[in-house]
């Protein structure tokens, strides 16, 4: 490829002809079989893998929860020993928060982003594949340890000094620490990919004020992860060194600080909470209006609320530490931030309610999941404000009230929107609609079960039931509340099972969906269901936020959007790079073909961490060597990618 090719003026096609489609299919399609499975960089394949893997971890975490709830259903139960219970609740938290809640959103965003943006792939496809493979390896690494009895046993927040070697002599914490650092690499590279994709891969005309809210949600979550992940990775690395190399970062008698752990962990932990809900809120902001047959009310405010929530989310971490004895005046600063963060959240809630109120709602299963999310978000938000108040928090900290709050937040604002989003985008993923009748059963079972199971936890907490107890004595006044909680959680589990059955049944025999079964307005519905490997034959040109609703909304001036005519880019795997603010086309990007480099790199990095965990230094050294070789190969300039530009003048 020469500079002339690289900077050529791309041709424009005014129709989607079959010859072009065939050519693109040859260029973009992943090879069949194991070779294609291991080497694909297609964002849709990667997205689906993320989703399936994350749901797999959701099931694992759910089974752990079911065993714990059986243990807690009656006082004095001994299904589990205290040590087993410690591992089970820690692994449950780790699984749901790190291996399900974040990755499931990465899966949806990976699949949907290029389609929503009118692009052919993510900006960095190989990095995308690397992100998934490392996530999978980290999950297997952590669960392999759990299977051998070495799962985390100090809560998902892993407080020192309990996590320090003198109090926790087994290898459990070492596996957890290294697994979390490994997972952090996946999250970081994924976040970088989302940010670059937002800045460079939007369709021509899709200025920043025309992107769907899901894009804003994932973008802000990704930006937050770039700042937050280093804090927790550092914390786990320092802890690993304390435990294995004799350093004293968290060892108080030798001048370390136990509070340092809490600061580093929660500097990550609270932004992470927003990172695992903001993309889900974006799904609702984009999906709900489709079923209300009108655009989202207050798009500009909701988009800003998404960003503002994330910014404020970096100033609230100390509300997890109100009971640690920090200066009163500094508690007041973080309490203020914890309370004022309700403003952008409330703005979004009012926007969703106004959208329903002023729209013509169609009561599909997806709509019901989206609206129930608003209810659950409000309940979880209100209990969050309560714990954001210092004196109230002092009463509630370490009680079941906090467990109720975090489950309302994480299930209410993550699981419910994700299930709703599955009903909404399943037709795009598979070409088939999900069963609505089974969907109603699925919704009501989950909604009733969830509230039956988790609302009583507020009362258990107010009655003084502490968190993280493996059993409790008879006559404390918590017996019937715990029994109801267990019954509710089992009903909720049946609801999740109905969802999985519906996915399987609909995938096999669901009604054929067509390209745009919901008559939705955004670009992913402009292509076939499921989309072809290249997404769009021609790159769309966008003139409004609702390219497919323009005729009815009249929200554009002059020429409207073009989804059937646009740039062709057919010299190889090519995409258009656009400017960051206004998405004006400025470069043709050569996209990489399928590659084994990501999977090899992920395996090598995992081998490195396994070497550290087992103190097998030869394995760590071998892993590091392969990592180095793989990265050199990955970055070696490729002529096909225009990385070895040749002079434009020949002969």
């Amino acid at each position: 490829m020469t500079i002339t090719d690289y900077e050529r003026v791309p041709t424009v096609s005014t129709d989607e002809n079959q010859a072009l489609a065939d050519k693109f299919k040859r260029l973009w399609e992943t090879k069949p079989g194991l070779a294609g499975f291991l080497s694909t960089v297609d964002h849709k394949e990667i997205g689906i893998r993320y989703i399936i893997t994350a749901f797999g971890f959701l099931i694992a975490g759910g089974v752990e929860a079911a065993v714990m709830r059986w243990q807690l259903a009656w006082p004095g139960e001994h299904v589990l020993t205290p040590e087993q219970y410690d591992q089970l609740f820690s692994t449950h938290g780790m699984t749901m928060i790190f291996l399900y809640a974040g990755p499931i959103l990465s899966g949806f965003s990976n699949y949907l982003w290029p389609l929503l943006l009118g692009a052919r792939d993510m900006a960095l496809p190989r990095l995308n594949a690397l992100s998934y493979w490392i996530y999978l390896c980290a999950g297997i690494f952590l669960y392999a340890a759990f299977a051998f009895g070495f799962g985390p046993n100090d809560g998902w927040f892993n407080y020192v000094p309990l996590a320090a070697r003198p109090y926790n002599a087994g290898p459990n914490i070492d596996f957890y620490a290294l697994g979390m650092i490994l997972l952090g690499i996946s999250t970081t590279v994924g976040a970088i990919n989302f940010i670059v994709t937002f800045l460079r891969m939007r369709a021509p005309g899709m200025s920043i004020n025309r992107v769907p809210i899901l894009i804003w949600g994932t973008l802000t979550a990704s930006a937050a992860n770039i700042f937050a992940i280093p804090a927790v990775s550092l914390a786990f690395f320092l802890l690993w060194m304390d435990r294995n190399l004799g350093t004293h970062f968290f060892d108080v008698p030798t001048g370390g600080s136990a509070l340092l752990w809490q600061h580093l962990f929660w500097m990550f932990g609270h932004p992470w909470v927003y990172a695992i809900v903001l993309p889900a809120m974006g799904m609702v902001s984009d999906g709900l209006p489709v079923f209300c047959r009108r655009p989202l009310v207050g798009y500009t405010v909701v988009a800003l609320a998404t960003v503002a929530t994330m910014v404020l989310g970096f100033g609230v971490w100390v509300h997890h530490m109100f009971a640690t004895g920090l200066p009163t005046i500094s508690l007041s600063f973080f309490s203020a931030a914890s309370i004022i963060i309700t403003v952008p959240s409330a703005v979004a809630i009012f926007a969703w309610i106004a959208t329903i109120w002023t729209g013509r709602p169609v009561f599909t299963t997806a709509f019901m999941f989206f609206t129930s999310f608003i209810v659950l978000f409000t309940i979880g938000g209100v209990s969050g404000v309560m714990t954001g108040s210092v004196p109230v928090d002092w009463q509630l900290t370490d009680t079941y009230f906090v467990v109720a709050h975090l489950h309302y937040v994480l299930i209410g604002i993550n699981v419910f929107p994700v299930v709703g989003a599955t009903y909404f985008w399943f037709p795009k993923f598979t070409g088939r609609l999900m069963d609505e009748r089974l969907g109603r059963w699925n919704f009501w079972t989950m909604f009733i079960g969830f509230n039956l199971g988790f609302f009583p936890m507020h009362i258990s907490g107010l009655l003084g039931m502490p968190r993280r107890v493996y059993t409790y004595a008879d006559g404390m006044g918590w017996d019937w509340l715990n029994l109801i909680t267990t019954i509710g959680s089992y009903v909720f589990a049946v609801g999740v099972l109905l969802f999985l059955i519906n996915v399987w049944k609909s995938y096999r025999r669901g009604a054929v969906a067509g390209d745009n079964p919901w008559d939705a307005p955004t670009l992913e519905w402009a292509t076939t269901s499921p989309p072809p490997p290249y997404n769009f034959v021609v790159i769309p040109t966008v003139a409004s936020r609702h390219p497919l609703w323009e005729d009815r909304l009249q929200q554009h001036e002059g020429e409207g959007s073009h989804v059937d005519a646009g740039l062709v880019l057919d010299h190889d795997r090519e995409a258009i790079g656009t400017s960051s603010l206004d998405a004006t086309p400025d470069i043709i990007l050569r996209m990489p073909h399928d590659s084994y480099a990501p999977v090899i790199l992920a395996l090598a990095v995992t081998a490195f961490f396994a070497g550290l965990a087992f103190h097998a230094w030869w394995l760590a050294a071998l892993g590091a060597l392969v990592v180095g070789i793989d990265i050199i190969g990955w970055l070696w300039p490729e002529r096909k990618l225009g990385e070895t530009a040749e002079p434009a003048i020949h002969g």
Binding site: S207, N209, P327, L581, D582
Partner: protein
């Protein structure tokens, strides 16, 4: 862009207000709120916990003065961000059809969209800054 796929530019008034002016409007209040929070936490923790146990019960005069400086600077910055954004909004409110209501709900006109963001961001974070200011003026320093 080829005439077959031509559309109107999303930011026709982009030359009226510079990108950095818009960014100042959007970011001044959040950045100074973050600064106020971090500095306030840092100096109060240093003063209160010079050793393992609280050593100070009364707020020293210098600390009080430091809080006042942080608070005033943050409030002025948030107001400046809001004023710049308001000016940008007034300059570009006609960037696309419809007035403020249209810009709030639809968001068309990228420059005025960012100007609106600046106004709202300044207001929200001014609220957070004032909350912190009330805390620094009224809450005891180290009392458990």
């Amino acid at each position: 862009m080829n005439a077959a796929v031509a559309t109107s530019h999303p930011a026709p008034l982009r030359d009226k207000v510079s990108f950095w002016t818009l960014m100042f409007g959007c970011c001044a209040a959040p950045v100074f709120w973050a600064g106020q929070l971090m500095l306030g936490y840092w100096v109060s923790a240093q003063t209160c916990y010079a050793s393992d146990h609280p050593t100070v019960t009364q707020m020293p005069q210098t600390l009080h003065a430091a809080f006042v400086v942080f608070d005033v600077v943050a409030i002025v910055a948030a107001l400046a961000g809001g004023a710049v954004s308001l000016w940008a909004w007034r300059t570009t409110r006609e960037e696309k059809e419809g007035g403020a209501r249209h810009a709030l709900h639809v968001g068309e006109g990228r420059v005025r969209f960012m100007a609106l963001w600046g106004i709202m961001s300044s207001l929200w974070f001014l609220g957070a800054i004032i909350f912190n200011t009330i805390g620094s003026l009224m809450v005891p320093l180290c009392t458990p």
